[in-house]
């Protein structure tokens, strides 16, 4: 009896396997809230001295040059796609552009009026990747999510090709996986699924037309810690008449009684600038197709000269696109005119403006 029992025990013990290891879990555990998109990887590399010989250096340089040349020679994937099948409608969202602000100068209208303009250069923009709406799963934020967003895909656009040896391996990998060279700026545009573009499509300034209105998103000039006079435009206090030590101070910041505290949102000194701001409804007055420059009306585009800004079709209801723009984008072509002018703008090579006597 005892031996048979022993046998059973031995056989069960021998059959025992360690397959399932339960992990003790906190019932209140939640995954971390901040889940950055996969293209948010460190970009800057710590440059180190590699002690390469001159020959090796030349070799690397040669390879980079070869890659660059092959990318320049790359044909736009749009050349073969038939564009008649897809059509633009007013609810479509097209891709935007990444541009650089390069300065301001005046243009004159045909009535002889002077307009200050800002020049935006579209440098070397390429579509990197498209993430369809089903796969695009952005991080949860406390902000109200637009329902529309779930129907939109995500299009990654890069601008300004850089030397691959100057960025990290991870960052370079994003581009390498789709056969592109790394770009200095990588940005996400939410687009309608039928406005998606294949990888490697170059984007030009002709994506927009003259006379259209765009929204420009950029970082404002960093002004550092500023007082209320500069930050909020308070008028300060008199310079004399017995005023001491309160010439640029805000004065009273709250009342007494029930509200005897500083109310949230009170305008106070603090850091000014270096924020993302969108200027909406900026008119395009002129386009240069050779250097891909847009002349936009006004000087209010955020950021200093050389700042990077993102251009979208405007969402302002009265300035929205009314006719079909180049859709999904303007294809590369060599036979474009060098300059497009808005009909209100006087080209510099035009005749002197004369007014007819009525």
């Amino acid at each position: 009896m005892a031996t048979s029992n022993m046998k059973i025990l031995c056989s069960t013990l021998s059959r025992l396997r360690v397959d399932y290891i339960p992990i003790r879990q906190n019932a209140f555990y939640k995954p971390p809230k901040y889940r950055p998109p996969h293209w948010f990887v460190p970009k800057e590399r710590v440059m180190s001295e590699d002690f390469l010989t001159q020959e090796n250096r030349d070799f690397i340089e040669e390879i980079i040059q070869d890659k660059r040349n092959s990318q320049i020679a790359l044909e736009s994937p749009l050349a073969h796609a038939d564009q008649q099948t897809i059509e633009w409608n007013p609810f479509t969202r097209r891709v935007g552009l990444i541009a650089r602000k390069i300065g301001n100068y005046p243009l004159w209208s045909k009535e002889g009026k002077k307009y200050q303009t800002t020049l935006l250069q579209v440098v070397d923009n390429h579509v990197i990747k498209y993430v369809p709406p089903e796969q695009f799963n952005p991080m949860k934020t406390t902000k109200v999510q637009w329902k529309e967003k779930k129907t939109l895909g995500c299009l990654l656009v890069g601008s300004e090709t850089v030397d691959p040896s100057t960025v990290t391996k991870e960052y370079s990998g994003i581009f390498n996986s789709v056969g592109m060279l790394p770009k200095r700026h990588l940005f996400r545009f939410m687009v309608s699924p039928h406005a998606a573009l294949p990888t490697g499509t170059p984007l030009f300034a002709t994506h927009f037309r003259v006379g259209d209105h765009i929204d420009v998103r950029a970082k404002t000039m960093d002004r550092g810690f500023q007082g209320v006079m500069k930050r909020w435009g308070f008028s300060g206090m008199p310079a004399s008449h017995g005023v001491t030590k309160t010439h640029r101070r805000p004065g009273n910041i709250g009342g007494g009684g029930e509200k005897a505290r500083v109310w949230p949102g009170t305008k106070m000194p603090g850091h000014m600038g270096n924020r993302w701001r969108t200027l909406r409804g900026v008119k395009i007055l002129r386009i240069n197709t050779k250097y891909n420059i847009l002349w936009t009306l006004g000087v209010a585009i955020p950021g200093e000269t050389g700042a990077v800004c993102y251009l979208y079709d405007t969402i302002l209801p009265l300035k929205k696109l009314k006719t079909a723009p180049p859709f999904p984008t303007h294809p590369a072509s060599d036979d474009l005119p060098l300059e497009y002018y808005d009909e209100s703008i006087h080209p510099f090579e035009g005749e002197t403006i004369l007014f007819d006597e009525v």
Binding site: I102, G103, Y105, P106, W108, E111, G112, K114, L119, Q121, N288, Y291, I293, E304, T305, G306, H346, P347, F348, E349, G350, E351, T352, I353, L354, F355, D356, E357
Partner: protein, 304 residues
Amino acid sequence: MALAIRKSTFSVLATARCIVPREFRSLSSLPETNEDVAQDVAKRSTGRRIRFQNPALEYRHVYPEFLPDPNPKWRNTLREKMERADMLKRRSQIDIPEFYVGSILAVVISDPHAQGKTNRFVGICIERKGCGLRAEFTLRNVVDHQGVEIRYDLYDPTIQSIQIIRLEKRLDDKLFYLRDALPEYSTFSFDMDPEILPEGTPVPVNPVQVKLKPKPWLERWERQELKGVANIEEHLKENDRVRRELRKTPWEKYDLMKQYRKTIPAEDQNEIWGEVHNQLNQLKLSRKKMFKKRPVTTPKTQLA
């Protein structure tokens, strides 16, 4: 202005030597003095070769607006290039002559509100400023005992013509003191005949010194070290003289970095002038052809 230009002649260096301490001479980016201008002019008239070698020497005075603003925050090579191309396009439509502060000009513009839709104004150029397409100049005249100043954009397409009535320079870079001077110094009749200098003559400097009206003035002219004002001491009180002494900044002419920051380096200038040289030359030649048949009159040095 900068080293490469200065190096070209020994005589210019010699003037620099007396101002600049020896150790800083290699960095030299001196301001323009009247002597320099005179020497440049002398050089221009001596021979063709020098002019050909360094067009920057000539062009930076004749076309100052082609040089960009030296503030590095606003510089951008591509924008400057586009701007210069636009300026040349405009210059191909209208003849913008060489003129200086102190020259007398007649400007005709299209004006929708004027009778006949054009407006002609004659006056002395009291200021010239701005870079690129922002370049502007101000004309001053006294019409019916009322001082009138009009600011024109040099590249405004409504300007129909800019005519030089008298090409000359004054002793100062800005002539704002004409506002406080006696009106006869800024009164010019609208039917003045243009005086055309014989070819190759250097631009004459008018050494006239104006007389100011008594105070109150618009600015403190006594602090600005003006050369073109005759009677400034008459109107000063003791306190004004004391304050003028206190406000003097005699060290600024030794501040080489300040001068350097205010100017475009010679290397950049060579690039810019190299780009626009051909087209400017062509415009110049076409202008010469047009004006060859005009009569030649000698310049008069007279009071305003």
